[in-house]
Subunit: 205 residues, 2 copies
DNA sequence: CCACAATAATGACGTGGCGTCAATTTCTAT
DNA sequence: ATAGAAATTGACGCCACGTCATTATTGTGG
């Protein structure tokens, strides 16, 4: 009867490894939010755990790599949401709106930790992790599908995907600055802009 | 007759101060392009000049502040271009297109220095430096003017400005990734998208 | 149940960049 | 010419970094 507790047949070694890695990530999120990414040090992060300084380097090479892992995790959680929206949308407009809503919900929740203004929580460098590029591909695929199905004109899918992402990012930031953040209004704006804008964008040669 | 040489009636103190500041900025541009922003140190920058390490801190408090100054300079150069486009445009479409073209030209020229790939070169552009916010205001003003003149529907000017900026940034990055970067094509895409998209964006309550 | 090997955690240590500051040089004004 | 203001200089103390020999913990064969 006791086998119900041992659902994971892994040894203690692997379990503590996962737990330590997770502890570092959790501490890093808090530290980045409280001190700001730039000001935060590896020591600050490790002090937020029960681990010793040297142990940090068994899991990550640097503060940057920790942030990458956090960003990658975020993208990994977001992509299936986006895919679900693509596969279950009743129309192209429906797809666009639910995708924007999903993203705006995501960043609202992501920034719900108390701390410094959002700008200072993140590194100043632009980072493209594998999972983030996968998200870009997912967006692009959704748009290409719509074009293929005749739901959207034959425009440059790469540029269109970039435009959607740029709108999502900047509009998302603007939305967060307002209180309370109104996800539906922002999503309606973005959806309306893109949907109609498609008609005006140059057709692919 | 010798007064033609002394066009600037400033003392040597002020001249060397400006020259030193400029030397630091020039060196920083090179160092950021060659080593990447994250890897670059204040010492690397100051080694690129004739100055001593302590002198750096007479001009800037940190590497971050140097970058802000570079970004601020860029924005200061860009804003009048944008304003000129606004005041001399024959139509709203003309304004949009020339503004996008101006921005894309700007970033193409800005990234023409040899060095690392663009992603690692520069911090993520922050909109919170004074000149950057002025650029945002300039964009927004142009859009509000168009709305007031009846050239564009009464949409949320803040969101619209953010959308334009987001499109410009992401589309600009995508354009730079292509070789050769085609400014006119990218500008046509952005212009067409926004111009028609405006019709689909929600009207202001 | 007990070695014994494999693996991970620890924290002291050398290194190097950071920001400061007293001493020095350079400029300005009288 | 000279005093005084202003800017430059580089050495210095500090602290975070990343390493690594040591210690502790876990898995395994006898």
């Amino acid at each position: 009867m006791s086998d119900t507790a041992a659902v994971e047949p892994i040894g203690k070694r692997e379990r503590t490894k996962l737990a330590n890695r997770q502890a570092i990530l959790v501490a890093a999120r808090r530290v980045f939010a409280q001190l700001g990414y730039e000001a935060a040090t590896v020591r600050d992060i490790i002090r937020g755990t029960e681990l010793a300084s040297g142990t940090f380097y068994n899991y990550f090479r640097s503060k940057e790599e920790v942030f990458e892992a956090l960003a990658d995790d975020g993208a990994r959680r977001f992509r299936p949401i986006l895919r679900h929206a693509r596969e279950h949308a009743h129309s192209f407009e429906d797809y666009l709106r639910s995708a924007f809503i999903a993203y705006f919900r995501f960043i609202v929740e992501d920034n719900s930790v108390e701390g410094l203004p959002i700008e200072q929580r993140r590194p100043h460098v632009r980072l493209d992790t594998p999972e983030m590029m996968a998200v870009y591909q997912e967006v692009r695929q959704g748009l290409e599908d719509a074009i293929a199905h005749g739901d959207a004109p034959r425009v440059d899918a790469d540029y269109l995907a970039c435009a959607c992402i740029g709108i999502a990012q900047e509009l998302g930031s603007a939305m967060l600055r307002r209180s309370p953040p109104d996800i539906d209004t922002a999503a309606a704006f973005a959806t309306g802009l893109i949907l109609k804008g498609l008609e005006g964008a140059p057709r692919q040669s």
